[in-house]
């Protein structure tokens, strides 16, 4: 049933639009809020106190803050596959139809069975899980099952994500982070200089404290001044303002990453490279630690003031303020004006200026007091205090906590800015607030509004003039503000009053870490603040300790007597606040995770009915099934036809590099291990590149196109790596060589024509190239034309058949394909795919990257040792001389055939001396490629076998325990088909 009444809504205050009601649902009940509300303010308006349950003890929790520091009010928003867990009610912009619910509670947030853990909390203190659950050893799995289900916050989302995410890259002169008084002033000033400015703020409305502070700037209420200033900024062409946008990470060279939110789902990620950064991120109010400090109704005092003045809601009727600084008194008037009764002000300090105390009006003040306990299960009902004059009970439903300020310096610290603990402030401050970014305002402990504005203005001016922009005129802000400017947040309640209490004093509200936990960890020797954090999990929640880290450090200091500056702090890591994974991935989803490369023949292959294979960067033509054919049948047919007639295969994905220059041959001689000096113009040579450590790197061909002009090919898999390898040597080590490299992979379409009828087919296409055996011998290259289209034809073969590889400008690929298909029927031409090619290369015993060139084999290991020059210097030569490369025990390339001539050799087999019996056995090697050979009519494999070259003719076993198969094999040479190369040379 809908409730239109908002019992805690004020009639006057706030910037919400009361003419625009919004309906929303929380825990299956329907409520109404207004445009301009957050979910938190709308829940407060409707009198919803209990929002969630805590992580460990499932204690009832309400709204604690009004921003990204919120530790308690985590909710799941959205329904079914739309649902997103762990969002902060304080950050969710209310919209019509919003559906939210509590999480980490069962059966409901009101009645949560998990709360029984509170009964045994003395047993399950810090690190208890390290001390138990060890017996019996096997039972850990069971314990863990329950632990895992008890842990976690929201429920996992399900299914795909239909939210919209995108990325934007931007450059600017000055990035101002934080749109409060200092940030607005900085941006305004910088904007006037003509600098390109980006201003961002994590809240849905810019203005920061101006939105709720009682102050006038230039005779206008602060909130009006802020609105006007933001409006002016938006009118500058050189300024971009981003609200509801969190700068969450800063990397080297000022690479700043921001998350911009559009409602609760859609996100944009900004990656900005500003020349200068002004950090005006403000400060977060700190809680005061006291027993029972976690009940719903206990809130940060500035949050209460913000809810009243920005959202027009009152979080309760009867409030008590507990403070350790003057700012607590400022709240009295705000609360009273909103109709709240301020029962008392409890000041944990011993003294306070009379002028400050006067702000409390008639409200009683207890100086030097401490809170010893709080009452109320699902809503605060009262507190017990201890004053120098005795104990007292105070009834109240709201306790406003003012524990001083913690400047938001996470981004400063991420950028390697150093922090030092300031005893007065009771928190850390930058050691140098001009480096590595300019820090202004509350972020460096400046709380005077006038100073924040003028310092902000100066920061904008400094950043702009530093970049060469003309200094703007001085600007004077006339400010009236009765707000306390006292930065003193040093007072804490003594731990001697906290630790003995029966009630828990939570340092980290989200992770349920108490003062007692910290004390226990210290007692057990976990004394480094990093150890304290890890052992107790303090500061490890989704708020990353925004309200708890400093209190943890100060509690440790109080217990150990070590000063906070000596204790140091844990590392601030990105992100400043949790950021959507979808936003980080952006549009990189589905097929767009990485670019897909298609060959120039792609459309023709598609027309020919190809089945593509997506592998690595490429979409390869895999096989071309005819109607009714299975994959195996199609591949079989393609192999047979190529071996019997002629086939054509797209080879365009091979890397191709054009090498030119007077020292081209000197360069190639160094990068290939085989001799190339003797290569004549128009000749092609199969060549091997080695890595520096002597291991095989890549194979391909080198063709000499002219006097100082070569074309080299690489494998598809290593094309990128080979290019980097060659360019690194050319640029970094051999810059004296006159050689240039050009990647021409995408410029040339390449198609291999292979089979006994290949010559006749190719000859039928060209008039100006003589394809006869004498005129066009193996390993040569001819240039000419096919129907006036310039081509290079290479006599090379991977399949082992008579082969011609035609290279043609990629733009002519389709024309060439059409000519081939047009001439094809006369010669029984069929296209074949990668699978058939792979089968034929295995039949032929040709090596391939990833299988035989596996990053461990040498040229000698794969039977190509004779190619390695002994005369020249080349990459890999020196380390190839090492003893282990020449000793027995290396895995060497061999072929395998089933000993019985008919069994299928198991795929992915290990090679052993005897049949697999299920007990451990020494391996003798492994198979690298196993096929059922259509040509030989039997199962064959290539394998790397220990000392294999000396075992040709011997028997061994190919075993696959995972397939429960063992097949006795004969070790052969890997050259199963046409070992003498008669066909290839024909």
């Amino acid at each position: 049933m809908a409730r239109d009444r908002q019992p805690n809504r004020l009639n006057n205050l706030g910037t919400i639009d009361r003419t625009k009601p919004l309906r929303f649902t929380f825990n299956n009940r329907s409520y109404t809020g207004y445009q301009g509300d957050t979910l938190a303010s709308a829940l407060i308006a409707n009198g919803v106190d209990l929002i969630g349950r805590s992580f460990k003890y499932h204690r009832p929790r309400g709204i604690f803050s009004a921003g990204s520091e919120e530790p308690n009010a985590l909710v799941t928003v959205g329904q079914s596959i739309d649902a997103r867990p762990n969002l902060r009610a304080t950050e969710i912009v209310l919209e019509n139809g919003l559906v939210a619910r509590s999480q980490n509670c069962w059966p409901s947030v009101d009645w949560d069975l998990g709360a029984v853990t509170g009964l045994v909390s003395r047993i399950i203190g810090a690190g208890f899980y390290y001390k138990t659950f060890m017996w019996p050893a096997k039972a850990w799995k069971t314990y863990e099952y329950f632990i895992r289900h008890a842990a976690g916050l929201g429920s996992p989302p399900e299914g795909h994500d239909d939210a919209i995410y995108d990325h934007r890259n931007a450059h600017c002169d000055i990035l101002v982070i934080g749109g409060g008084p200092a940030g607005l002033a900085a941006a305004s000033c910088a904007a006037l200089t003509g600098a390109r400015v980006i201003l961002c703020d994590e809240k849905m409305h810019m203005g920061g404290s101006l939105s709720w502070l009682r102050a006038d700037i230039g005779g206008k209420p602060a909130a009006d001044w802020a609105r006007a200033t933001i409006g002016e900024l938006a009118n500058h062409a050189n300024v971009t303002t981003l609200s509801d946008t969190t700068a969450f990470a800063i990397g080297d060279d000022n690479h700043v990453v921001l998350e911009q939110r559009f409602g609760w789902k859609n996100r944009r990620l900004w990656k900005i490279r500003p020349k200068r950064i002004v950090l005006a991120g403000g400060a977060i109010e700190r809680p005061i630690l006291f027993p029972g400090n976690d009940r719903p109704g206990i809130m940060l005092v500035t949050a209460v003031r913000r809810y009243i003045r920005e959202f027009g809601v009152v979080p309760g009727r009867q409030a008590t303020i507990v403070t350790n600084n003057d700012s607590g008194y400022d709240a009295v008037k705000d609360l009273q004006d909103a109709g709240m009764i301020v029962a008392t002000v409890i000041d944990i300090r011993d003294r306070c200026e009379g002028s400050v105390r006067a702000k409390a009006g008639n409200c009683p003040i207890y100086m030097g007091a401490s809170i010893t306990a709080t009452r109320g299960r699902k809503r605060l009902s009262g507190i017990n205090i201890e004053t120098p004059d005795g104990s007292n009970h105070i009834a109240c439903d709201t306790l406003c906590v003012a524990g001083g300020w913690t400047p938001s310096l996470q981004l400063y610290s991420q950028r390697q800015g150093k922090l030092r603990f300031n005893d007065t402030l009771g928190a850390h401050l930058p050691v140098d607030h001009a480096e590595p970014m300019i820090v202004v305002g509350a972020a460096i402990g400046t709380f005077d509004l006038g100073l924040c504005l003028s310092d902000g203005w100066r920061a904008g001016a400094d950043a702009a003039t530093d970049l060469g922009f003309t200094k703007p005129v001085q600007h004077k802000f006339s400010v009236t503000c009765e707000q306390s400017v006292d930065a003193d947040g040093s007072a804490i309640m003594p731990v001697s009053k906290i630790l003995p209490s029966k009630q828990k004093a939570f340092v980290d509200l989200q992770n349920d870490v108490t003062c007692a936990d910290l004390s226990q960890a210290l007692g057990e020797g976990y004394q480094s603040i990093e150890h304290v954090k890890r052992y107790t999990t303090t500061g490890m929640g989704t708020d990353q300790g925004k309200t708890s880290n400093v209190n943890a450090i100060r509690t440790v200091a109080a217990i150990t007597g070590i000063s906070p500056s000596e204790i140091g702090h844990t590392t601030f890591r990105p992100p400043y606040a949790p950021v959507s994974m979808g936003a980080i991935a952006g549009e990189a989803r589905g097929k767009l995770v990485a670019p897909t490369r298609r060959t120039p023949f792609h459309s023709r292959c598609t027309d020919a009915g190809v089945v593509f294979l997506e592998s690595g960067d490429w979409l390869y033509p895999r096989y071309y099934p005819q109607p009714g054919e299975s994959m195996a049948e199609a591949i079989d047919r393609e192999v047979r036809n190529t071996r019997r007639n002629v086939g054509m295969v797209d080879m365009s994905s091979l890397g191709k590099i054009d090498v030119q220059g007077a020292d081209a041959i000197a360069f190639l001689e160094r990068v290939y291990c085989n001799n190339l000096a003797s290569l004549k113009v128009g000749r092609v040579r199969y060549s091997l590149m080695l890595r520096e450590d002597g291991i095989l790197f890549d194979d391909g061909t080198v063709t000499r196109l002219g006097e100082n002009h070569y074309l080299i090919t690489t494998t598809t898999a290593r094309a990128g790596e080979a290019w980097l390898h060659l360019e690194r040597y050319r640029q970094a080590y051999w810059s004296d060589l006159n050689v240039s490299l050009t990647s021409v992979t995408d410029d040339w379409a390449s198609i291999a024509i292979a089979g006994p009828k290949a010559r006749d087919l190719v000859q039928s296409l060209t008039d100006d190239i003589d394809c006869s055996a004498n005129a066009f011998p193996p390993s040569s290259m001819m240039e000419g034309t096919i129907d006036d289209m310039p081509v290079r034809i290479f006599r090379v073969s991977f399949s082992g058949e008579l082969g011609f590889e035609i290279n043609i400008s990629a733009d002519y690929a389709s024309s060439l394909w059409d000519r081939l298909v047009g001439h094809g029927p006369t010669f029984d031409l069929m296209p074949y795919g990668l699978e058939a090619l792979d089968i034929m290369r295995i039949e032929k015993g040709h090596i391939s990257v990833g299988t035989e060139i596996d990053g461990r084999t040498t040229a000698a290991d794969v039977g190509l040792g004779r190619m390695v020059s002994t005369k020249k210097e080349f990459i890999g030569k020196a380390l190839l001389q090492r003893s282990a490369f020449n000793e027995p025990g290396r895995r060497q390339l061999v072929g395998l055939k089933a000993a019985d001539g008919k069994s299928a050799i198991p795929y992915g087999a290990q090679i052993t001396d005897s049949v697999w019996k299920g007990t451990p056995q020494e391996t003798q090697g492994h198979s690298t490629a196993t096929i059922a050979s259509p040509t030989l009519g039997e199962s064959i494999a290539m394998a790397l076998v220990i000392d294999g070259h000396s075992r040709i003719g011997a028997k061994a076993w190919a075993v696959s325990p995972v397939a429960s198969r063992s097949v006795e094999v004969e070790i052969t040479t890997p050259h199963f088909y046409d070992p003498d190369g008669t066909r290839l040379k024909s």
Binding site: Y130, T132, V257, G523, G525, Y526, M581, G586, A909
Partner: protein, 426 residues
């Protein structure tokens, strides 16, 4: 059952109950702090999991209790604190596979051995294949493991879908998944507990642990080191072991030994915690790789690929996080709706074949345990065990022997990835 702890100090449910019942009783410090002597039989430089494990096994297995562990920061604060906590032994090469399997066996009893719950969670390690070729090589790897007596299975797509129900195998993704290699005994362990558990047990056996103390030099006597110089003073050492992860080469240089290591940053990150959803470790193997699992606390922890440049700065580029996130979402589309909570970086030390360097060095009494690259965490118990054995007997333990520094001279490389002499590529 471990007997190295007095009854009052032994961790147990009964102990927890007793302490809870009494307001005054509390647990003793887990380990003693500081150096109590000026002369030690063995000084270990580096108080991470590896160094502390070495100290523990020296004391436990070899009775060498006069041991000092020196840690520059806080124990377990280097890569022990920064890894993605994966344990497994699914390696192709015999030396790597046997070593990691020995380690996995030690992991399986480690909570009881150390009387400190290591949360060894054998929820399976699923290594994804992205082509038929991958699957064939994974089959060869699984078969190699089976020959060693180690359980392993190869799953096709259908079996994989059953094993990891949340995984997306639809054809709408880039780098389609063709199957997987699964080691069910793989999984995760609680990283911090490893350092603390070894420290506590070693300390109970008499080992000294000096934190916040940096080694700044060594004094040689002939071809031996006789003094370790720290910012807190000098210590006589019968033998010295360096176990300083990303900074091992720097420490070794102080001793006059050059290690063929490069130090590279690598990043990891976690999402906000959520209720159980992912019950195994999954690794995506198209470069840049990523691997993920869900912690007992509920966060999804995601590890990424090394940066392509050398650095001692424990932070990396945002693009690596983007790439890993995109791959994770491709595998598990629901992850898109979660939020990243914290990112961090560590420095890994990688030699040119991507495998560890352990054992003796050109200096007679200097031992090294370094170069662990991506794989150091899982190796912690075994490297502690075998290095302790090597130091105590002044002779390489058989499992450790193949990982000698000498192998770069002989060429007996141990390149599991086949990635070659560029450390960033491993």
């Amino acid at each position: 059952m471990s007997s190295i702890f007095d009854r009052d100090k032994r961790y147990s449910l009964a102990g927890l109950l007793t302490k809870a019942a009494s307001r005054s009783a509390s647990w003793a410090p887990a380990w003693r702090k500081g150096a109590s002597r000026k002369s030690y039989d063995v000084v270990i430089v580096g108080g991470g999991g590896h160094g502390l494990a070495t100290a523990y096994y020296l004391a436990k297995n070899h009775g060498v209790k006069n041991v000092l562990v020196i840690e520059k920061g806080w124990i377990g604060g280097g890569n022990t604190a920064r890894n993605t906590t994966i344990i497994r032994s699914d390696y192709f090469l015999e030396a790597s596979g046997r070593f990691k399997e020995f380690s996995l066996k030690l992991w399986e009893g480690l909570s009881q051995e150390l009387n400190f719950n290591q949360m060894v969670s054998q929820r399976g390690y699923v290594d994804l294949a992205h082509s038929d070729g991958d699957l064939e090589m994974y089959t060869a790897r699984a078969n190699a493991m089976r020959l060693r007596g180690v359980e392993a299975n190869v799953l096709d797509r259908e079996q994989l879908q059953k094993r990891v129900p949340q995984i997306n195998l639809e054809n709408d993704m880039r780098y389609p998944i063709t199957g997987a290699l699964v080691q069910e005994r793989g999984g995760t362990a609680r990283h911090d507990a490893v350092a603390w558990g070894y420290a506590r047990a070693a300390s109970a056996l008499g080992v000294d642990i000096l934190e916040q103390s940096e080694v700044i030099g060594f004094q040689h006597n002939g071809n031996r080191i006789d003094t370790v110089i720290t910012v807190d003073g000098e210590f006589q050492a019968g033998a010295v072991a360096i176990s300083a992860a990303g900074h091992s080469s720097e420490v070794a240089r102080l001793a006059g030994v050059e290690l063929p290591l490069e130090s590279i940053a690598i990043q990891a990150f976690v999402t906000e915690p959520l209720k159980p959803v992912l019950d195994t470790v999954v690794s995506f193997n198209m470069f840049p790789f990523c691997y993920l699992s869900q912690t007992d606390k509920g966060e999804i922890v995601i590890g990424g690929t090394t940066e392509a440049y050398n650095s001692y700065a424990a932070r990396g580029s945002f693009s690596r996080i983007e790439e890993a996130t995109a791959r994770c979402i491709a595998m598990f589309p629901f992850l898109s709706k979660l939020r990243l909570m914290r990112q961090w970086g560590g420095i890994i030390d990688t030699p040119i074949d991507g495998n560890a360097i352990m054992g003796k060095t050109p200096i007679d009494n200097l031992f090294v345990n370094a170069g662990w690259s991506y794989t150091g965490f899982k190796a912690t118990p075994a490297s502690g065990w075998t290095l302790a054995d090597t130091i105590a007997n002044d002779k390489p333990h058989p499992l450790l022997a193949p990982f000698s520094l000498e192998r770069y001279k002989t060429g007996a490389l141990l390149d599991d990835a086949g990635a070659g002499p560029h450390p960033y590529a491993h």
